[in-house]
Amino acid sequence: MTQIKKVLIANRGEIALRIIRACRDMGIRTVAVYSTADRDAMHVKLADESVCIGPAQSSESYLNESAILTAALLTNADAIHPGYGFLSERADFVDKVEQHGLIWIGPNADMIRKMGDKVNAKQTAIKCGLPVVPGSDGAIKNIEDALCWADKIGYPVMIKAASGGGGRGMRAIHNANELRDAFPLVRAESKTAFGDDTLYMEKLLLHPRHIEFQVLGDKHGNVVIFGERDCSLQRKNQKVMEECPAAVLTQKQRDDMIEICKAAAKKMKYTNAGTFEFMFEDGNFYFLEMNTRLQVEHPVTELVYGVDLVREQIRIAAGEKLGYTQSNLVAHGHAIEFRINAEDPETFVPNPGKITLYAPPGGLGVRVDSAVYSGYTISPTYDSMIAKMIVHAQSRPACIMRAQRALDEFVIEGIKTTIPLQKKLLENSDVRQLKTDNHWLENFLENEKTKETAQESAENADEK
């Protein structure tokens, strides 16, 4: 077992603060790194030492591997915590960190290579017994082959061009007749668009929810799985609100999935923190991807399970044993996280600028992870998420009540934030009754826009 006495945090913003706090709680010294745009940032103020590693643009500072390693070596840090984003899932960087005798606080490079890449990850997931979206094993040769696969998978299905991507070269198919018509068309389109007419087929999920399971594994083969987070409220693949547990699951569905995830994590010899992400539809789970790092929404798990996940990451990296088993993990109540972005709550245009007043909410069951303060100027260079408000209560309805109270208390002046959107979502009956899925928020926002335009034109008509 190695002792970690000083940690360099290769990140900024709220997550850098989150890690500094965990280190301080453990009596570990901290080194902050920062770009010239972040001279006045909170993580620089709160760390024991700080090193300016480059100019504002991330590629020259927070993604500058050499500068970060040099800073770690010159400050005699023992370990590097990458947070999320930036260098957190760069396997080559993990190799370099270890070559320099430093400890990486996260899964090892091989695991990141294996699970960080989507295609690799699906193969590994299948091998480790995780349920995946059913599909044709490889290319579909002809229409007979296609019909055969569709029968096997079950309609609706999606035919996809192997060379396509980003939403192009795919079509939803609802029955055999549609497939007969569409197959030659998609094939021809694919040939023209991508110079390759290889097609494959996957089951089409119409209303999936995003449900994910938190993994912790030590270097001695011990693994635990924390109960799930429901992150179905998303806009452009960005999570907006996350909760723990997923109230749509039955206890049996939860327990079964924990067992499946535990077996998979054990089989892949997973170490440190990670997350298995799934789509959940009609009682079935389908593996989406794995995040080989700490996640933004980790605090909801912390509040429900009474665990400090960053502390666990550091302990695991130092070679300590978990010291508890699956049966020791007990969920208490319900937690919801709200991401507060410096964005217009209707158009989502980023709104950087000076925060003239910052007064976060408080009281029982309210936690705010943020790195901003009154007088702080939000730089346009980085992510627009400026705060996470996490609320905990004994039940989901109580949690919603408390969240509404806390959002009402939250004052951020000088810039626009997404707080009004979060308030609106909590009043919505679909959100309250969990009648949502991964597409719900985008549809909701679309409807809101239409409503507004209609209202405006009605008002204009009145004036005339």
Binding site: T36, E49, I53, S61, S66, A67, T70, L74
Partner: protein
């Protein structure tokens, strides 16, 4: 207890003499039933960070002349190799493109080149000091380009 107090006082004195800033003292009392763990720590006279990063000593408004800043985080060398003549001294005339110092990062040596013509007015960083990105290294007084 009196003897224990004396020990701590002696240690404290010893630390001052030897310039030690931190000392862990462990002592078992009463047949090992209690364990006193005493951590003596003294403020270092010079407030340098552990690795000795050069923090800006002068505020920008106190500096007159062109400031040459470090292009990266690393260890600064004022001469091409240990013991060799420094690249420049105070009073040296430099041309844009002349090497003023080297910054070592990940075992590579990167030249810090002057971006102006002028006279070296002040060197702000000591040889082998750790520098951050943008740490001021030298002040160069620009010479008006009358000759051309």
């Amino acid at each position: 207890m009196a003897s224990f107090r004396a020990t701590v006082e002696n240690m404290s004195k010893l630390m001052d003499e030897m310039g030690i800033t931190e000392l862990d003292l462990e002592r078992q009392l009463l047949l090992g039933l209690y364990r006193k763990h005493i951590h003596l720590s003294k403020q270092q006279a010079i407030a340098t960070p552990v690795a000795g990063f050069v923090k800006q000593t002068k505020t920008d408004d106190k500096i007159s002349g062109h400031v040459l800043k470090s292009p990266m985080v690393g260890v600064l060398y004022l001469s091409p190799e240990p013991g060799a003549k420094p690249f420049v001294k105070v009073g040296s005339a430099v041309k844009a493109g002349d090497t003023i110092a080297l910054v070592e990062a990940m075992k590579t040596f990167n030249p810090v080149k002057s971006d102006v013509d002028g006279i070296v007015k002040e060197i702000l960083v000591a040889d082998t000091a750790a520098v951050e990105f943008d740490t001021p290294i030298a002040i160069i007084e620009q010479v008006p380009n009358d000759a051309n």
